[in-house]
Symmetry: C2
Subunit: 615 residues, 2 copies
């Protein structure tokens, strides 16, 4: 029976390539698969708006609703703008594709870098925000939030390495649970306001003095944080092809539904919070405080928190689709290591997933699992990608023309302008908080793309068979050098093998202990099959250097410009630890030859002739 | 100009083999070179006797002088006994040589194991005892004793890896400084007793109740610890050949002087301590307390402490001669890895030195640099080696006869009996304190010797050319398999190289993406020089397994029973990090073939054909 390896237990048996098929989804299930990132953003955006304004007390918190209106305005512009991308790119118009096709390589690569960083941040922020929902309900877990986040990251990684087939159905549950739960929260909040009347923050915070006053800077800063609510909106336009036909129509419909849902949930929660004025205790989130105030500490409260955790986990999961896909496209174009294009055992881009998982883990550890600390790094990349992608669409319409291209380019131009303005606000107001880290990382990534691309292009030009001529004259005869440590059975076998390759064999003995030389010479005369034996003195008892010097001499004398081939007789002991009992000379010679190959750029083939020891 | 490597800066340039010469020493310098281990033992033996008896208060400490008399009695017997070894083995009669030549392999190996452990312990104990002398003078360094010991160990290791040429002259300074300093201490002590009269421990400890009473167990236990004073006595008999002629006569004279010096210093210090009754403060050593009481805290005090530190460092240094020598003899006999017989760049057994240094460092760290904790492990091995070596001498005289053999065997028999009794006392009284560790380690070492020896013997029998017949019929023609990742310049070069070796070449393409196959097939038809191309399907996208399966099939069909040779075209990028941008397929194939070679025990040669990339 086939014994399952640890690898197979964890991620399942390998799948055959022909099972790579794309399941087509109807609109509700596709919406469920593509919306978690966008919907769940509401959780941390809410939290950021509250944390941003509370320093200015009740007067500050009064700005929450106007700010959220501005963000929703931006959302509506984006929805119109991306609807056009859907129509133009029915195969799926990722921001990298749109930007590089229409704006050129540089903006394309900048967008690619921004996307990669965003996917890592989405995974990290969603996980930590999900854990914050959990620790709001169970504050005693608060000290373990880093570990809890990492364990959840590990689970998501393993699930994705297995290849989650059930994108549509299973994922729909947490999404619709989340929507339902927050509909209840908003409904209950509005009901309470109708019955009891509003009890705004001017009442709740009456006794607490504000730390700062409301300035334009504070409002813009909070707006910038709140813009994280819009992350994930582009997901539908990236994946038009997962919809059942007519794909574009269904996708636009889904995008509209998503925008509507986000508007309702975002404005609804922010509005109810304004009217009811809950106050978080300790590290509790504002949404947890709201739910507490509405429902107390019963099952309903825990239901809301769990649904928040679940949708955030699903949102983190979406990075495991997006990151490896973008990475594989960049790798396919020669900007990232080719290994990222390999489909793993389970038909997913395993290398990309492992890379994403490692980077997200690093972020979680560096930022102590604190969502609020991660947020300043987040929105800047997303909005840069939005802007470049929309700008790319403008160019697309101008170049391609077609019916109504003017109107279309105006709409995308409006999108590019709005997101571009938001990008500037975010970049400036968050620069010192952490956006500079993203600027530095993007520059490094861009530099890395270029270096990698130059390497692959260089290789391609070296490997091309263009300009290669068919061999006319036969290749020169093989010259073979056989270094021997003495005369024993393994050496004789190697010598016999050498004779099947060429008649031009020279044996080389490096003389470390001159007392041994005579014996070696005598035995070689008997067993050497007439092959000449060169004795190389070694005054410093080194084996490698005299041998390499001998090879150099030999090659200098050769008239065909070819380096001689080295035939290395090598022991392979029966048990691994027995290697410790041998000098590993063969390995050292190989290493030295490799190093010299690097230095001289010439080709010296090495033949590894193993002598398998039973002992 | 030759740029010096870090290695050369640390341990100097390589030395030529012919500079390996043995300097001959006159008696005083030879004594200085060979006595530090024995002389310095007095420092920790004194300390152990004091710590052993203080628990029984003044009544216990009264036994110090009688115990030291017993130890000196043992010393005199040993001196007579080893004088005979010197005469019998003028080339140097190490305990391993004497025991294995006269008693056989088993006692020889036991002695060898005991010696190796003892050398490691000598290094560790001498260093920590030296640091204890230092921290007695500067108590604020006490918390850093592990680090200080390790730094000193590192310095001694580097000096020894350079190869210390100056054994005779430079080493003589600390030895004679130590003797002079302690002569002053003993003289001053006796003077003080004469002037002021004795002030024994019954006065000093009058107010302190004894923790235990004086029992036979306590006395024997203290005797066992005090026996560490005798470690190093055998050094002269190991190295008779370093004396100028007449070697044996000079060596015996040196041994007598050593015994006399040890007797005077040991009895002198113990006696003065008894009469003056100094009390150590904190972690201070008893010898430091004695010096304090005699000389106060002036320059004289620091001089004595520094001379103690220095001789202990020189003693630790002697392990760096002894351990690598014994290890190289055992390795030469096939009981330890052969690497231990290699003379390094500076004509010393560098590998043995590095091994010793690592093991001593482990001991120092495990025992927190505490001499007292290390002592129970120490004497047991030394006395086992003494006993077996003297017993070997008895057999030597009985076997060889010669004038006066009866008397000689009686003297060595007395030595063997006395050291044997001491061994039993030490082993029993120290067993639970730590001697069991040595018992376990010796068993493990002995087992290791046997396993290694069996391996080397097995190899020798596999490698012997006895029974090998001269090849009559020519070897079968070479069958070559060339796995190709596609058709590019590197592959074509490899193919041309293949044709210099044999006409029987098959190219193999593992089909991971079937969309590529047609292109590969077409280009191979154009460039493949008529070599057949096998297309191997890979439904699970693995490269290695289908290729290995193909090789198995191919070899099954071969009628000559030989495995086909694999020719691996391999990229060598110009810069090391560029390896990260490639799949390392060649390396993975080599690894897989190596693993299968192990499993099937058959020989498959691999030809590494590098294609050097400039990019």
């Amino acid at each position: 029976m086939h014994k399952r390896t640890l690898r197979e237990r964890l991620i399942g048996s390998p799948l055959e390539t022909h099972r790579l098929s794309s399941e087509k989804l109807d609109t509700p299930r596709a919406l469920a698969a593509l919306s978690p990132d966008a919907l769940s953003s509401i959780a941390y955006a809410n939290q950021e708006i509250f944390l941003g304004l509370i320093t200015a007390g009740a007067a500050g918190l009064a700005y929450a609703f106007p700010i959220s209106l501005a963000i929703v305005g931006l959302l509506i512009i984006l929805a119109f703008s991306y609807a056009q991308t859907i129509h133009a790119y029915p195969q799926g118009g990722g921001s990298y594709t749109v930007a590089s096709e229409n704006l050129g390589a540089l903006p394309g690569l900048i967008t690619g870098a921004a996307l990669l960083l965003d996917y890592v941040l989405t995974a990290a922020v969603s996980l930590t925000a999900g854990v914050a929902a959990l620790t709001s309900a169970f504050p005693e877990l608060g000290t373990h939030r880093v570990i809890i986040s990492l364990v959840m990251l590990l689970l998501i990684t393993l699930l994705n390495l297995r290849g989650i087939r059930e994108t549509g159905t299973l994922m729909a549950i947490p999404v619709y649970l989340f929507i339902g739960m927050y509909a209840l929260v908003i409904g209950a909040g509005l009901l309470r306001v109708i019955i009891e009347g509003p009890g705004g923050y001017d009442v709740t915070l009456a006794s607490r003095p504000a730390l700062t006053s409301v300035t334009l800077g504070l409002v813009l800063h909070t707006f910038a944080s709140g813009c994280t609510a819009l992350t994930g909106v582009e997901a539908i336009s990236n994946a038009v092809s997962v919809f059942k036909p007519p794909e574009s129509t269904r996708a636009v419909r889904a995008l509209r539904s998503l925008a509507l849902l986000m508007t309702l949930l975002f404005l609804g929660t922010i509005g109810v919070i304004q009217l009811i004025a809950p106050m978080p205790v300790g590290d509790e989130t504002i949404l947890s405080a709201l739910t507490h105030k509405l429902f107390g500490s019963g099952g309903m409260y825990y239901g809301v928190q769990i649904s928040t955790l679940l949708i955030l986990l699903v949102a983190a999961n979406t990075s495991f689709t997006g990151f490896p896909r973008v990475a594989s496209i960049l790798a396919h174009d020669g900007y990232l290591p080719r290994q990222l294009t390999i489909l793993g055992d389970r038909l997913v881009f395993s290398n990309g997933m492992l890379l994403l998982s490692s980077l997200a883990a690093v972020l979680i550890i560096l930022f102590h699992g604190d969502t609020h600390a991660l947020i300043p790094l987040f929105a800047v990349g997303v909005f840069l990608a939005f802007t470049l992608s929309q700008a790319g669409m403008v160019v697309h319409w101008i170049k391609d023309g077609g019916p109504g291209w003017r109107m279309k380019s105006v709409i995308n131009g409006l999108g590019a302008t709005a997101t571009g303005l938001a990008f500037v606000v975010i970049a400036v107001s968050k620069f010192l908080d952490g956006a500079w880290v993203i600027a530095v990382l993007m520059l490094l990534l861009y530099g890395g793309f270029r270096v990698i691309h130059r390497h692959y292009e260089g290789i391609a030009s070296e490997l091309t068979i263009h300009g290669l001529h068919h061999a006319i004259k036969p290749s020169p005869a093989l010259r073979l050098v056989l270094p021997i440590p003495g005369v024993h059975r393994g050496v004789i076998y190697a010598l016999r093998y050498a004779h099947t390759l060429t008649a031009d064999v020279t044996a080389v003995y490096v003389e470390i202990d001159p007392a041994e030389t005579d014996k070696v010479r005598r035995r070689w005369a008997q067993w050497g099959e007439g092959v000449p034996l060169a004795i190389v003195p070694s005054p410093y008892r080194s084996l490698i250097n005299p041998f390499l010097a001998y090879l150099d001499e030999l090659d200098k004398d050769a008239d065909d410009g070819q380096l001689a081939t080295v035939l290395l007789p090598e022991f392979i002991p029966g048990r691994w630890w027995e290697n410790l009992l041998h000098n590993q000379t063969a390995w050292l010679i190989k290493l030295a030859l490799l190093y010299r190959r690097r230095r001289f750029g010439k080709v010296r083939p090495i033949i590894d002739f193993p002598f398998h020891l039973r002992h």
